[in-house]
């Protein structure tokens, strides 16, 4: 499978701390990749390198065959890379519908009128249509997460990056979100999903990568990866007896 979005041997340091160390990570067209690893392993930094909020000191970021290492976030979004933030960043004073419309108009590159339809569809897909006229500032956490998802979808992405979207949600809520993500994936969108809630991840992704100390520890089929002793030790901190 040809890589759609790839980090190629990228390194990133903050001060004296190397957070990402010659990391290579790629997702193919229509593929769903899960990324796990302990806190501080560099997962969120890896995502920020993909969306262009950070630039690597070494290595390249490639999307659909083009080197995008120096492209700014808005350009990457318009090219088809969308992100849902771990901590939602709603536009508080705008309505839910307007929040999504921002994605449809700027990320999707449509005129406002043409973006109305897709924006509403994204809202419906994320299960927020009933709240379309609510000010985003008053949403609950689950609704904010849904809004992040709807806004990202409205940009018409080819690859969707999910940063701990299930974090802080209840079991039932996670289940609902998983359903939405599966549907997005079935529609042909590639997915990179960083998550701590492994069982949620496993119900969507076909491949799992484990990052530790900014490096790739293992990469492969989810069951095989989770069965490896070093993964259990590193990630869960529980010695398997």
């Amino acid at each position: 499978m040809a890589a759609l979005l790839a980090l190629q041997h990228v390194s990133k340091t903050f001060g004296s701390l190397r957070v990402i160390d010659a990391l290579t990570l790629a997702v193919g067209e229509r593929e769903a990749l899960g990324v796990i690893g302990p806190n501080g392993a560099g997962k969120t930094t890896a995502l920020n390198l993909m969306i262009g909020r950070l630039r690597p000191e070494r290595g390249a970021v490639v999307f659909a065959g083009r080197d995008i290492t120096t492209a700014p976030p808005h350009a990457r979004c318009r090219a088809g890379i969308a992100l849902t933030h771990q901590i939602p960043h709603p536009f508080d004073a705008l309505t839910v519908f307007e929040n999504v419309l921002v994605g449809g108009v700027f990320g999707g590159g449509a005129s406002e009128r043409l973006a109305y339809g897709p924006s509403m569809e994204a809202l419906e897909l994320a299960g927020l249509a009933a709240k379309a006229n609510t000010r985003a500032g008053v949403l609950t956490l689950l609704e904010r997460k849904r809004l992040e998802l709807a806004r990202a979808l409205a940009t018409g992405p080819r690859v969707l990056l999910l940063d701990e979207i299930a974090g802080g949600l209840g079991e039932h809520e996670v289940h609902e979100l998983v359903e939405v993500i599966r549907r997005v994936h079935r529609a042909g969108v590639a997915i990179i999903w960083i998550e701590h809630i492994v069982h949620a991840l496993r119900s969507v992704v076909s491949r799992l990568a484990v990052i530790n100390f900014g490096r790739l520890l293992v990469d492969g089929a989810p069951d095989a990866v989770m069965a490896r002793a070093e993964v259990q030790r590193v990630y869960l901190g529980i010695d398997v007896q």
Binding site: P38, G40, V138, L141, G167, G168, H199, F213, G237
Partner: protein, 234 residues
């Protein structure tokens, strides 16, 4: 006797509720472990006790007095000190200056600069260097040393082994044992269950902002911890 008593604690970030009716206790001189998955609310519990988040006064009692929601500096005066997640070393201060900031309130007690250096010899060697030039493990030692300089009665340590290599983590736990041996009450948050359990006299497992399991380590089996940790099996 009970030094810290948290009763029916609920905490919010804006409209988002992070903690639901959490209760926990720490006896004088005990080591208490708080475990749980990411986002379970462990850090929030510590930050609430340390006075970063507003809560009703009665929700947190320290040495018998209601102290919930008091400003952090007042709690430091009373002897509650937090070693924050991610170390948070002051980048424009040297190692020694970081330690001295820990002693800002001048609370009297056993811990002095020489004694902290005795506990962490590597800090003495690198005392003149910028604090952020240290490795991750050394930074964690510095953060703990900085907390000790405040002469705490209750030391809260958040995510002590976060992002650190196993050998370094073992070192840190040796130090924790020493600190506990001095009679300082500690409340330690860690995802690394296997290290912390042997040290603790009490364990609280959090899940989704509520206590999902509590007890003495000896009473708890791996299976019960795993169930409380993840909700369902891995």
């Amino acid at each position: 006797m009970t030094l810290l008593s948290v009763r029916g604690l609920s905490a919010f970030y804006g409209s988002f509720q992070a903690l639901f009716d959490v209760s926990l206790e720490a006896g004088e001189g005990e080591t208490v472990a708080v475990i749980g998955a990411n986002g379970a609310g462990k850090t929030t519990v510590l930050r609430t006790i340390a006075g970063v988040l507003p809560v009703p006064a009665s929700a947190v009692r320290f040495d018998g007095a209601p102290v919930g929601g008091r400003p952090a500096h007042e709690l430091v005066d009373r002897g509650i000190v937090l070693v924050p997640e991610g170390r948070r070393i002051f980048s424009s201060l040297s190692v020694e200056e970081n330690l001295l900031v820990g002693a800002y309130r001048g609370r009297p007690g056993r811990w002095t600069l020489p004694r902290v250096y005795e506990l962490f010899p590597v800090l003495a060697v690198r005392r003149r260097q910028p604090g952020t030039n240290l490795s991750g493990g050394e930074q964690q030692m510095l953060a703990i040393g900085r907390g000790l300089m405040a002469n705490p009665r209750l030391l809260l340590v958040d995510e002590i082994s976060l992002g650190l290599a196993p050998l370094v983590v073992q070192d840190l736990y040796r130090v924790l044992r020493t600190i506990a041996g001095e009679g300082t009450t500690t409340l330690v948050v860690d995802q690394n269950v296997s290290q912390i359990l042997p040290l603790a006299q009490r364990v609280y497992c959090l899940r989704k902002g509520a206590v999902s399991l509590e007890g003495r380590p000896a009473e708890l089996t791996r299976a019960r911890i795993a169930a409380a940790y993840f909700g369902i099996g891995v």
